[in-house]
């Protein structure tokens, strides 16, 4: 028994040490720093309690960021989840081409978003972009999509949905595949054979757990949006697209307001932890079900 104990320590020891160094200590540092007034390269830090948090929450710029992030998440999540479900429903009814469709719709999730953002930028270019040209052809005036305060965030939302839908779709496809076909047959014989009826009678009850799971995961992804902001808008115009993670990045590595960044990070962390805990709970429940 004792030999096994040593084996255990030997096998897990390196991970434990590295985890301490690379994850636990940094985490504690972030939380700790948020309660100080430290700036990188500045004098020794002093504890200031919740001052940074109070400043942050009172700062209209941060409030605008939080609002923008919330709006972004509240648009991307239903969009990607709903579209993913619709696509999954359509694909699962196909006899041929399933694999091809699955690949095509999943591609945006894989393709490097930074590179794809450049492609989107060209597509949306105010003068020669395809979108504006098509709109002008039908008489609608062109818009500078990424530089107009009213449209910048919706554009990022669109790209976010484009990016995440395939991800949601893949999970829904798996859930739909697990619905027993005999239930669909029984529904047809019982007189509930129409697609709408069968969806509510057979499909929806079966995919409830997966739907919740997908919502949680997509929300977590949406919360961590950084690439599109960094490449396309850098937070502008004005504060329209200053999503949370971009704000944290700027505070920490552009302005070096380290303690403010730490406070914002902690807030971000709380949201992520809530979602992560939900994800674990839901994942465990699905495994047991």
């Amino acid at each position: 028994m004792s030999e096994r104990r040593w084996a255990g320590l030997l096998l897990a020891g390196p991970v434990a040490i590295l985890m301490l160094l690379l994850q636990v200590v940094p985490l504690l540092l972030v939380v700790g720093t948020s309660f100080t007034d430290w700036q990188l390269g500045g004098p020794a830090p002093a504890l200031v309690g919740f001052a940074r948090y109070r400043e942050l929450l009172a700062d209209p710029n941060f409030q605008a960021s939080a609002a923008a992030t919330l709006r972004y998440v509240l648009m991307v999540v239903p969009g990607a989840t709903g579209l993913g479900l619709v696509l999954a429903l359509l694909i699962s009814g196909c006899r041929r081409g399933r694999s091809l469709y699955q690949t095509i719709f999943f591609l945006p999730y894989i393709a490097t978003l930074a590179a794809m953002s450049m492609a989107w930028q060209i597509l949306l270019h105010p003068s020669f972009g395809l979108v504006n040209q098509a709109l002008e052809a039908i008489g609608v005036p062109a818009t500078n999509w990424l530089r107009d305060e009213a449209t910048a965030l919706p554009v990022l939302v669109l790209i976010g949905i484009w990016h995440e839908t395939g991800f949601a779709m893949v999970f829904f496809l798996a859930a739909l595949a697990s619905v027993p076909t005999e239930l669909h047959d029984a529904a047809r014989l019982d007189g509930m054979g129409a697609a709408w009826d069968r969806f509510w009678l057979v499909t929806a009850p079966h995919i409830g757990a997966m739907t919740l799971f997908v919502i949680v995961v997509v929300t977590a992804h949406a919360l961590m949006t950084f690439d599109t902001v960094a490449v396309l808008t850098q937070g502008g115009p004005g504060n329209a697209t200053r999503l949370l993670l971009f704000v944290i990045y700027q505070e920490a590595f552009a302005f070096f307001r380290t303690s403010q960044a730490a406070a914002a990070t902690v807030l971000f962390l709380i949201a992520a932890l809530l979602l992560g805990a939900l994800q674990l709970r839901l994942g465990r429940r699905r495994e047991g079900a």
């Binding site: 047959d185 029984a186 047809r188 014989l189």
Partner: protein, 376 residues
């Protein structure tokens, strides 16, 4: 109840032909089993009758009405599935009521009735509830009506599935191996109940199974299916005693068939080893045939074919002896009193009336006693 007429039904999936010109008639109120090994096409046939698949050719008439192009819900057909296919989110009551609610209430009314909003739909809903309760009483599941399928045992779910199928009083009841997910003891008990309910309701029933004992126990007639064809349609007795082919003979019957390949002499007399049976098959004179006996067709006797007992399978009221004769193993059924010992030499007397003779292609051929008049 109605008469079911299937004519020339064919189906292929891609390049594989699954059903070859199937024809079958079930009289009103008759219980017909579709019996066959897995892959013989019986479930496909059932699904086509239900309207869940389309046939490539052929026609199906129920009560004189052609079913081609008619949606499953309008065919007046009900089905019990192998996995029961109960909606897990609904109670037993709601499961059984669903076929009625789907037909008598529109979608809006269903929604309104659920929340008890609309008076007219409440009336219909109440009437439906009464019917459900009456049927549940007949099926003895009244106490289970408010449970969800997950809280029911296999046998209980089976009855709820049956209730859902019977509630509409359809002309035809289809059952796709409804007993295969039950344990052995429950299976025997449940098949009796199903047979009884079918008689009570008088509904024409098409029952798919791969278990020949099950089919023989409950059916009025059995359609034996092999490789997408009905190879024999008849009563259980006909199929057991007069199987049309070697394949059917081997498929039916709990114990294995004893079969011997032999070449008949020019005069067509049939012998079992050195023992003449006193039977002949003139049409097969000089040809290769297969002679077969079921285990009960070989009896222990004082004289006859010599054999040695190798193993005894004791079944309480009877026993199956595995005996060795001329290097091959035969199976003999006998009463359990006065069993011989293992290794003991015995003699087997074949019963000529139980002899089955098949030609070189496996078709059964006539065999008659040597003395006139012949009667088999």
């Amino acid at each position: 109840m109605a008469k079911l007429e299937i004519q020339g039904l064919s189906k292929r999936f891609g390049a594989t032909a699954v059903l070859h010109s199937i024809s079958l008639t079930a009289e009103a109120g008759e219980f017909i089993s579709l019996l066959g090994p897995s892959g013989c096409g019986k479930s496909t046939l059932l699904r086509i009758v239900a309207g869940l698949e389309q046939a490539d050719a052929g026609s199906i008439r129920l009560g004189g009405r052609e079913l081609a192009g008619v949606a499953p819900r309008d065919r007046n057909v009900a089905m019990v599935f192998q996995s029961f296919a109960l909606y897990p989110q609904m109670t037993a009551r709601e499961n059984i009521a669903l076929p009625l609610r789907a037909r008598r209430l529109t979608r809006l009314q269903r929604l309104a009735d659920r929340f008890r909003l609309d008076g007219a739909s409440r009336c219909v809903g109440a009437e439906i509830d009464r019917q459900v309760e009456a049927l549940a009483h007949t099926l003895e599941i009244s106490a289970l009506l408010d449970r969800h399928p997950v809280a029911l045992s296999g046998g209980q779910r089976q009855r709820v599935a049956l209730g859902r199928a019977l509630i509409r009083q359809s002309s035809l009841l289809l059952m796709d191996e409804p007993l295969s997910s039950l344990d052995a003891r429950l299976r025997v008990q449940t098949r009796e109940e199903i047979a009884q309910i079918q008689r009570q309701f008088g509904v024409t029933c098409l029952f798919v199974t791969h278990d020949q004992a099950e089919a023989m126990a409950v059916s009025d007639r059995i359609a034996v299916m092999l490789h997408g064809r009905i190879v024999q349609l008849g009563t259980p007795q006909e199929i057991y005693r007069a199987p049309r082919s070697l394949a059917v003979a081997e498929f039916i019957g709990s114990a294995p068939l004893n079969r011997f390949a032999l070449d008949l002499p020019p005069d067509g007399t049939v012998q079992f080893g050195e023992v003449p049976l006193g039977m002949r098959a003139p049409a097969q004179a000089g040809k290769s045939v297969t002679l077969a006996f079921r285990p009960e067709g070989l009896r222990l006797a004082a004289a006859g074919v010599p054999a040695t007992v190798r193993r005894i399978e004791y079944h309480g009221a009877e026993a199956f002896l595995r005996v060795e004769h001329a290097g091959r193993t035969l199976i003999v059924r006998t009463g359990a009193a006065a069993l011989p010992a293992i290794g003991a030499p015995i003699h087997l007397a074949p019963d000529p009336a139980a002899a089955l003779l098949f030609d070189v292609e496996g078709k059964r051929v006539a065999i008659e006693p040597l003395r006139e008049p012949a009667h088999v």
